[in-house]
């Protein structure tokens, strides 16, 4: 099967020339990677990428395989499915190819071919016609496939784990082989992984699953598929625990797109409706230490309904907050938002900490693309779209309806060119990066690669911003860590944020604090802690910092970096601290306003964008929180 996979890429491989994706580091050699004493470098990656192995990506027309995806991520030029040349502005350091475990390769494996045709009478013959008709019709077939999965109307023969076992095994072993080959410790890390894809009633409960191990261990199991248990994540954790016990390996799972879960991703009960108990909370926190909060299908950090005082909460919500993934659950009701957004989940976790004695939602935050094009792109001026039908060279893609399993209004421009995962690790290796995820020393960005450090402690002093990193590790805990004690004194935080030298300068750094008040209810507050042009921009009577000027020139796709800061560094102490209250703190960094990807499309193709298309945005980073727990 290995060979078949290779075949699909050969045209691409031959087309590649003059790339210098290796050998750029004169000191780099061999596979013996040295780990630094503490995490000195931030590594950039995408943990959520689909190739032609994913049943829907293939349906969308993606014909690029896993090897091509790996080559692209490490900086080579490839030819996208629809013919455009594709290359990242800068290589990534790591990649998790996460093809769907449900119906993995359902459209790929010849020996099950007759079974694949068993799709139930109601739409089967239509599918035949539509697949033959046009790209648009093929897209509609994929939409219906997603729909069918959401409604549970796909026949067992497509979705049943047993039917898939053989083709999955073959594909999984091929995945292991290619990933092992491209994993070069010290240069580029390729992880084994897949996506677990349950969506009962269209509510997105998807998780990306990532292995610390290579193929030798990881192929002793098969990608776990959701259908047998209709999506109860407890079964996934049971599967992970069994793997770890049996092999001594490690796995973790990362929920994503909670924004289209109609409140179910972070609901205050178990999947079966029973109350959350301590064992559930501990198991969930153990196996799901990180949540992917920003990606092409919107941003799940916050929502204005939940955070009315946060003027930046609406980022990436447009279109996605109307309904669940397939829009099969009716309009999303306001009371469902709370279970759909990460900040609220972090707050709920604190409440559960008090009521059941453990926090199921103690997670760090990353971004990733969820691209279905095999191309891990998150830059606005180099966005290859959600899937192969809206790749870079499709003129009208921003305005096309994107009814992926929906019957209503989501359009191309609702897609964000987002996000990447940043990991503070001691080397570029599977072990070091996986461990960074596990200890939540990671952060999310919506694409730009800003460098963000965040340390909490009780003993920091004013001058500690000078040697922020070494002092941070020495006297405090990094992002993702825990604080306790402090003799009632308010914790202090060392924060630094440096702009991406290929992107925009910085508007501000904020701390988002959540806590549980005396009545047991969670609260939130946002503090502006450092910002550009501090001489002229002040915090007003309403507690809000004056906005940074918008310098975007829409006719050129340019902006003026002089309005923002190249770097913001500060020491901040919580002014409203109550030592008896559970709390978390995370950092949000905002860039100055820049153009969105439809603006670059409009410039390239001479389009006029309608008014409702968002044309200017402030890209951002979210760090993992630091939690404060009162002394027992």
């Amino acid at each position: 099967m290995r060979k078949a996979l290779l075949l699909a890429t050969c045209g691409v491989a031959l087309a590649v020339s003059g790339c210098k994706y290796v050998g750029d580091d004169p000191n780099g050699s061999g596979s013996n990677v040295e780990n630094t004493e503490y995490p000195e470098q931030v590594f950039w990656g995408d943990t959520h990428l689909h190739t032609d192995v994913s049943v829907d990506a293939y349906g969308f027309g993606n014909r690029l395989d896993q090897e091509t995806a790996l080559r692209f991520a490490r900086g080579e030029e490839v030819t996208a499915t629809k013919g455009a040349k594709a290359k990242l502005s800068r290589p990534l350091d790591f990649l998790v190819i996460s093809d769907h475990s449900d119906a993995m390769g359902a459209t790929k494996a010849i020996k099950e071919a007759p079974r694949i045709a068993l799709l139930g009478d109601e739409f089967l013959l239509r599918w035949h016609d539509m697949l033959n008709e046009s790209d648009e019709a093929a897209l509609q077939v994929t939409a219906e496939l997603i729909d069918g999965a959401a409604n549970g109307t796909l026949p067992e023969s497509v979705t049943g784990p047993e039917a898939q076992t053989e083709r999955t095994k073959e594909l999984w072993e091929a995945h292991g082989e290619i990933v092992d080959e491209y994993n070069e410790p010290g240069k580029f890390t390729a992880f084994m992984g897949y996506e677990y894809t349950p969506m009962p009633g269209g509510d997105n409960l998807h998780r990306v699953v990532m292995f610390r191990d290579g193929a030798d261990k990881a192929t002793t199991v098969l990608p776990y598929s959701s259908q047998g248990f209709a999506g109860n994540p407890e079964k996934l954790w049971e599967h992970m625990a069994a793997y770890e016990k049996d092999t001594g390996g490690k796995m973790l799972a990362m929920p994503h797109n909670s924004n289209v879960s109609n409140g179910r991703m972070f609901e205050m009960q178990k999947y079966d409706g029973s109350p959350i108990d301590k064992a559930y909370a501990e198991t969930r926190a153990k196996y799901e230490p990180v949540v992917e909060v920003t990606q092409i299908k919107g941003d799940s950090e916050a929502h204005p309904f939940l955070s009315p005082n946060d003027e930046f909460a609406a980022f990436g919500d447009a279109g996605w907050d109307k309904c669940n993934l397939s829009c099969t659950g009716g309009d999303t009701k306001p009371e469902q938002y709370a279970g759909s957004y990460a900040r609220e989940a972090l707050k709920r976790g604190l409440e559960l900490m008090q009521t059941v004695g453990a926090n199921p939602f103690k997670f760090g935050m990353i971004g990733s693309t969820d691209s279905h094009t095999s191309l891990a792109t998150a830059d606005e001026d180099n966005f290859f779209g959600k899937h192969s039908q809206n790749e870079l060279n499709r003129e009208d893609r921003a305005m096309q309806p994107q009814n992926l399993g929906t019957r209503r209004g989501r359009f191309g421009w609702h897609y964000l060119s987002s996000g990447y995962a940043a990991a503070w690790a001691t080397s570029n290796s599977r072990e070091a990066i996986f461990d960074a995820f596990q200890r939540r020393e990671v952060y999310a960005t919506t694409g730009p690669r800003m460098t963000v450090r965040f340390f909490g402690g009780f003993d920091f002093a004013e001058g500690d911003t000078e040697n922020l990193v070494s002092t941070g590790y020495e006297k405090g805990v990094p992002m993702g860590g825990d604080l306790s004690g402090g003799d009632g004194e308010a914790p202090k935080f060392l924060i630094s944020a440096m702009m991406d030298p290929e992107s925009a300068s910085l508007d501000r750094v904020q701390i988002v604090k959540g806590w549980v008040d005396a009545s047991g209810k969670s609260q939130e507050e946002i503090y502006n802690v450092s910002w550009a042009d501090a001489e002229n921009r002040n915090i007003g009577a309403d507690g809000k910092l004056a906005p940074v000027p918008n310098t975007v020139n829409l006719t050129k796709g340019e902006w003026d970096n002089a309005t923002g800061a190249p770097e913001l560094v500060t020491l901040w102490q919580d002014p409203d601290f109550d030592a008896s209250q559970n709390a978390f703190y995370y950092v949000r960094v905002l860039e100055i306003p820049t153009p969105t990807w439809p603006v670059y499309d409009a410039l390239k193709f001479g389009l006029t964008l309608p008014d409702d298309v968002i044309k200017v945005q402030q890209e951002r980073a979210y760090t993992s929180p630091i939690w404060y727990t009162p002394k027992a």
Partner: protein
Amino acid sequence: MAETSWLKRLLKEPLVHFLGGALLVFAFFWATGTNRDPTDYTINIDRSDIERLQANWTQNFRRPPSAEELNGLVDQEITEEIYYREALRLGLDRGDPVIRRRLFTKMRFLGNQEVNDPTNAELQKWMEGNPGKYALSSAYDLQQVYLGQIGAMAETDIAAAAEQLNNGSAKPANLSEPISLPLALKAAGTQAIARQFGERFVQALAPLKTGKWVGPIPSGFGQHLVKVDKRIPGKPAALEDVRQAVTNDWRAAQTADQEKKSLDNLRSQYEIRVAGRE
């Protein structure tokens, strides 16, 4: 007699071996896709089927299924088998572009032999045949002073600062605006420098003379004074440094080559006419 020699020749034809092999493999997959006759109305779930179901479950959960769970698995298997046979009766496997595509992929697969592990000599040859691709980039020993954002410092002041550094009357650390960038880099490759300072900065380094503070040099952050102490030119890589990449590329090329040969072989058997094409 003539007929026999025609048959003999045919049997010697590699393409026939190839297609025969393909048919066998295909028949095997077809037959093992299910071990039961699809035209039959009897479904037997035998001991080996149950063992397979149990084994799959055990692989997932590292424990055997309970009696109830096993019953569920068996029922699922039966449902699947019924759908499968009914679909074949209805001819739903025919004329399906997805299935057509799978057959296409499978044929490509069959057209290729497993590529053996390359020898060192093969890799060395491949690497030398693609010199630009595996060369180590140039590297720098350099010092830099950050002057703030573009426009923050007048050109005359920049010139004066460079002069101070060159005549030793000022130290780099005292002139640099605060920013978390190293004042000195040792043997830093261009990719590592670009990662820290942006591509623009690297571009600007190439023409600089060594041993002298010059500026302003632009970066993603603003502008800098830079002194290149040493430029270490790029050179061809040693195989050991890039072995994995070379192996991957070599293998991809072998496979591509094989596929092309195999298709050419097949295609030569066809007479192809395309309207409007000579």
